[in-house]
């Protein structure tokens, strides 16, 4: 039994991701340095045969219901005691060839932090209170935290797993995607409630622990949003412009409306009203119903 257990959450529909980003080879290359577990949502023989090649210490099969929240709650409930756990989805990967050494370094040098992962910041979701009721955690509707652990994934210490085992993270076994997002957000509320401290990997969001594709773009956009919510508007502006230039160069137009709105808000917060007004006016001209904030309407009308 090793010190570290790597646990990979996968499904009958997504299991090929594990080789898509080449992380299968990394797992094989360093296989003697950790124990390995898989949670496979859904019964797919091809996927089972594929994962079997990694000789996992634990292989948990469950129906493909309830998205990530259900499978991570399932995993946490079942995993034995390890000093540390790396919980990943099949589309998580590390481009850094020294990732395992880096993880061990973090484990050895950060006893005050229970979980390292990608920490995003967004406003609480509209249906947060309703979801809390559905999972019988009404008292959690009071949590209005912006920060949350992306994908409930990252490097967990034993203390956090034990506290989560005791709490028993609730979940709904539905196919509704929004429920998965609500569950992801509530998971971080539970971390706060249990006194579990979670922090960003110091390399930055999606800069060490990557997720799917477009990590650099997501890194810029998410870092800008986090800086904005932390009221570091100069840093936020810098990241938003970097994001804008990168997207223009790569012809990547996802999140552009949200970018313009956030960028305008950043200018506004910095007292750069003419820049803010110009961006909001352009946004409303293209999308008259875009939900810009009240201060934007006042600015445009004056």
């Amino acid at each position: 039994m090793k010190k570290l257990l790597i646990s990979i959450i996968t499904s009958e529909k997504t299991w090929t991701n594990f080789s898509k980003f080449g992380f299968d080879k990394e797992i094989l290359r360093l296989r003697d340095q950790f124990d390995l577990s898989f949670v496979l949502n859904g019964y797919s023989n091809e996927a089972i045969l594929f994962y079997n090649q990694f000789c996992p210490e634990y292989f948990f099969l469950r129906p493909n219901l309830g998205f990530d929240t259900a499978s991570i709650a399932y995993l946490i409930n079942l995993v034995p005691r390890y000093e540390h756990y790396l919980i990943m989805h099949d589309d998580h990967w590390f481009p850094n060839p020294n990732w395992i050494d880096r993880l061990y370094e973090i484990m050895n040098n950060n006893s005050d932090t229970d979980i390292f992962g990608n920490i995003l910041m967004q406003e609480p979701m509209r249906r947060h209170g309703e979801y809390c009721q559905l999972v019988n955690l009404n008292e959690f509707s009071k949590y209005k935290d912006f920060a949350f652990l992306h994908g409930m994934s990252g490097l967990f210490n034993l203390r956090s797993i034990q506290l989560l085992k005791e709490f028993k993270v609730p979940y709904l076994l539905t196919d509704e995607k929004e429920i998965a997002f609500l569950g992801e957000r509530l998971f971080s509320n539970i971390l706060s409630h249990q006194g579990i401290k979670f922090s960003q990997f110091s390399e930055g969001i999606f800069n060490f622990f990557l997720h799917g594709e477009n990590n650099y773009i997501n890194y810029l956009f998410s870092s800008a949003n986090v800086a904005f919510h932390q009221s570091d508007f100069i840093k936020a502006k810098d990241y938003f412009y970097k994001y804008y230039h990168h997207c223009s160069e790569k012809k990547y137009f996802q999140n552009m409306d949200s970018l313009f709105n956030n960028l305008a808000s950043t200018h506004y917060q910095l007292g750069e009203y003419s820049e803010a007004k110009y961006i909001w006016e352009n946004l409303i001209e293209r999308l008259p119903n875009y939900p810009i904030p009240n201060e934007a309407r006042i600015l445009i009308n004056n």
């Binding site: 019964y43 023989n45 089972i48 079997n52 634990y58 292989f59 948990f60 099969l61 409930n77 079942l78």
Partner: protein
Amino acid sequence: MKEFLISVVSSEKTWTNLSKFGFDKKLEEQRDKFDLAFVLNGYQNEAIEFISKFNPDYFFLRPNIGYDPAAVEHLLKLIPIYNTTLILHDDHWFEDSNWLEKIIELRTNNPKIDIWGNIFNSLPPNDIEKYFDDRELTILTHSNSNDFLHGLSGVYTSNAINKLKKFSFNFPLTFDKHTADLGERTFSYALKYLELSFEQFPEGIFKFLLHNESNERDHLFWTANILANKGNFREARDYFFEYLKFCEEHDFQRDYLVAFFNIAQTSFVIEDYNTAVEYAKKCLTISHNFPEAIDLINKIKEKLNV
């Protein structure tokens, strides 16, 4: 999470046993009364699809190595702690339609017993100590009892599961069947070490928790053996006679030699030499040079000076 967990250990080669004895239907009938876990040794699609129909609360897949001891250790390590856990192999079943109620009643009325199962009694294999050494289990001893829990299966309390979770058996992952038998015996020595009490289901061996086919025959044979191992040769012989009668009625000719010899041997011990000679000679009608039977006849001749 229910109070009761049923765990079934199965494999890619044996999974059809669960329906062979009709226990699949019994599980489905009462599925709402317990949580359900499966360990499947070996990756086999048909078996996975079959097992998934029961909507198991836990489904653990592992390679098909190490036989039952490795699979049960894997299970013990992973299951959460329930008030009561029933550990079965896919060829275990209950004939009694009130099996679930009886288990709950047994648990309620006997809070001090940690495990109920089929308890055998026989001398340990000669290489048990070497096995302890190889597995770094020198804390165990085989001198305190010859009782052992058949198949590591039965009804476990939360106390038993909790203690077993913390014990490292290190069961070897080999295809050697004898090593698995050593593991089965070692498990019971560990139960003693952990001060976990294990008892026979009151109905008798293979009378309540059944195993595969021929349970009545196995019940008679093993009950006789246990009595003999405990020095109760007269009662043991009665069971060997019943065993023989059962085998004759069902034409289990393969068992005749074993039955004849055991009747001869127990008769010798209780000094019923006529019966001993009669059955030793019956052995020779099946196996003309059966050395143990010849030895026994010679010993009786010496005793009687003929």
